[in-house]
């Protein structure tokens, strides 16, 4: 079983969201970068769980980004995984990134390609599906459970108002979310081991980008809370009905 886990960096969940250069760039000053939570807690930890059951499994991590993502990918290696590949490129849009990962995925002929549900900065939820199409593989998105039975993968995925169970043979691309695995923290041994695990840097292939960010915008500030006395629930119900018109 060869597994490829797609790892992206994202700003820490408490990072202040602000923009510079006339609202065209994310203000990265003072921002801490973390492994995108969906990639770490669900995709990567799931791969580690698979390897714990089947020690012959091989886990490769792939990330597209400049040298600045190396601390993040090292942290991922400290959690688990055998080696990492960094594709040394900018990330102009999802299609371009998916094309880069597809190239690496083709060369490694993986049985299972795991991505996060989405990145918490772009919220595109696109790269897994694009990658599957580029590799001409089936795609199961929003997986909350995954089990292996030989070459068959049993997956539960989220649907509106419930869940759906499905079966698919490897190779397959899966996007992962909560339920897949329990979050872990790296231990000392993992951190030491990560220092010597291979981190290969490869150059990008030529690819198009289909979209581009023109500018950012912050939502308008809230007008401020209107407090209602605790002993007057009737007033809350009145304002929700008459002023806000939401009930």
């Amino acid at each position: 079983m060869k597994i490829l886990v797609c790892i992206s960096k994202s700003p820490d969940t408490t990072a202040k969201i602000a923009f510079t250069d006339n609202n065209t760039k994310f203000a990265t000053d003072g921002v801490q970068w973390i492994i995108n939570p969906y990639d770490e807690w669900y995709a990567l930890v799931k791969a580690i769980e698979i390897k714990e059951k089947d020690p012959s499994a091989v886990i490769h991590l792939v990330t597209v980004g400049g040298a600045d993502v190396e601390p993040v990918i090292r942290k991922a290696l400290a959690l688990g995984g055998d080696e990492a590949i960094r594709i040394n490129a900018d990330t102009p849009d999802s299609y371009y990134v998916a094309c880069q990962i597809a190239e690496t995925a083709k060369q490694g002929s993986y049985d299972l390609v795991l991505a996060g549900k989405e990145t918490i900065d772009h919220n595109s939820a696109s790269i897994g599906g694009m990658l599957a199409e580029l590799l001409e593989l089936p795609y199961v998105s929003l997986a909350t459970k995954l089990e292996l039975n030989g070459n068959t993968v049993l997956i539960t995925r989220e649907i509106e108002g419930g869940e759906e169970s499905c079966e698919v043979n490897t190779p397959v691309v899966v996007s992962c979310q909560k339920g897949m695995a329990e979050a872990r923290i790296p231990n000392m041994r993992g951190i030491m081991a990560a220092r010597t695990k291979p981190l290969k840097v490869v150059e990008p292939v030529a690819a198009d980008s289909f979209t581009g960010i023109v500018s950012f915008e912050l939502p308008p500030a809230k007008a401020g809370v209107k407090l209602i006395p605790a002993d007057n629930p009737a007033e809350l119900v009145r304002v929700l009905h008459e002023e806000a018109k939401v009930i």
Partner: protein, 322 residues
Amino acid sequence: MSVLAFIDQSEGQVKKGAYEALSYAVKLASQLGTTAEAVVLGKLTDDIAALGKYGVKKIYHVADEQLNHLDAQVFADVIAQVARAAGAKIIVLSNNSDGKAIAPGLSVKLKAGLVSGAVALPDTGNGFTVKKSVFSGKAFAHVAIKTDIKIIALNPNSFSITEAGGGNAEVSAFAAAVNTPKVKVTAVNKVKGDVPLGEAEVVVSGGRGLKGPENWGMIEELAKLLGAATACSRPVADTHWRPHHEHVGQTGLAIAPNLYIAIGISGAIQHLAGVNRSKTIVVINKDPEAPFFKAADYGIVGDAFEVVPGIIEEVKKLKGVA
């Protein structure tokens, strides 16, 4: 050149996200001086021609049985065939669970730029730019699509469903080449009778302030009275007081209901990230310093166990329930 909406259905019933995508496609078509068409896959029970009242004239139906359940790869392939035959230049889908599965593959197949998580009609004055939600609801980005064919995946609850006063639509059977799905759906488990959280217009949510799962009775009662879905904060789901699918926030579901009522939730930044697109936020918390009040429209500082039963009584009066 036309705008094609994907009508997402489940077990024959059209999903809310599909009505939103359709309304969006119709508005966009009129903005561009063209027509909106739609495509629906699989077996239907809803009267699909009646969707004409939302302003769509023609609906392509691919009835193949293999399309009764989602296989993202097969769906993208069939929708691409319809889009090519219809000469569609823009395809609109809901960014719901199926849309997230299908849109990326469709984008690759059609070499069409995709904006997922759109929250408004595109700006077509100079190029083609779509506003989308980024940073987990903490900001928006304006994204230009540079390709000839364009795909927009519309965030649920971001665009209102509007009737456009048309008669029945023409439903035309479309003979697509359907590949055998590689993903075999073995079971569908839907919580019957409940409002799906992602589609809900009103959401009643509880946090650790409720002390334990045994206290959720009042949350469920209030939700039921309001026709609302129930949600919770992450620690509540992590400790299994409530099921995982109710977890909202940066690492849970992101929602945008008309009304979000947060009870006993502190309002951590990661929680707010998933709910701050709600149109109206009500916070009930006994701590006046709880950060959630800064993000709220209406607030009650008080003990949930005293305040919520009082609200339930008042809602009963409003709804005329004894």
